[in-house]
Symmetry: none
Subunit: 83 residues, 4 copies
């Protein structure tokens, strides 16, 4: 019975932590939505805005991916161990 109680408390703790974090995440998502709304109120085209944000994100990701590809190639050539 004791171990069940412990598991019970643990479970409750886990679930509550997750729910708290999800709540925070939702809040931030709402904040993002608000910023887009504010931008729209200031005459910006949110569709374009989203494209801009996405492109900036992709650019960063692309750099990271190119690095990964370069490592793959170097590794395939047996040249990566020295890095």
């Amino acid at each position: 019975m004791a171990d069940i109680t412990i598991a019970k408390d643990q479970l409750r703790s886990i679930v509550e932590r997750i729910e708290k974090l999800e709540e925070e995440k939702r809040t931030i998502a709402d904040d993002i939505k608000d910023v887009y709304g504010e931008a729209k109120a200031n005459g910006f085209d949110t569709k374009v805005l989203r494209q801009v944000v996405r492109i900036r994100r992709q650019d960063k990701a692309e750099v990271a991916e190119q690095d990964a590809i370069r490592d793959l190639y170097l590794n395939a050539l047996g040249m990566l161990s020295g890095r």
Copy 2:
């Protein structure tokens, strides 16, 4: 020209705020993942854990209604007796 400059600053501000918020959101998502990982390490079934979190999140009335419809469908398919 002045208004273009203003718009430019505004745009920059908007994009930066969005990116900052998205970064925070990502961090929290990682935290959630960590909690699940910790739960798993403590012997919990994370798949079921996710189901539980989802059940708690859902509106109770809605769940009941969906259950009713689902039973209707399953029954029509002759699959309800076995459950």
Copy 3:
């Protein structure tokens, strides 16, 4: 040089076969979407429909086991009586 040429042709063949298969896969995914759309037009609740399909897909024993674990968790959280 010859083997490089061969590898090149092989590589091209491989990539093209994969892309062709991925294209087919995408087509079928679209077909599935169409069926759901048609079902919706005929008054079916697609959300529940997806649940039904999922239920049929899952291994029955596995479902039973997950149900048992989930009940255990919900019970530990004091949430089972209300269901």
Copy 4:
């Protein structure tokens, strides 16, 4: 009762069509896996191969996205109606 029978048949038809399509999709996914396996057996680095396939896919998507952005900009400038 009659309409229930009709709905029942419709439901069964819908579910069976979806399940058939999902089965086909799974088969194709397996085929793709086979191609990668064959490539591996022929000495290709599947990790690099996947990168190649992904990059080709992204390149196409990127072209499509750039077209979309161009349209957005042209539209913002009131220049799209003539297209």
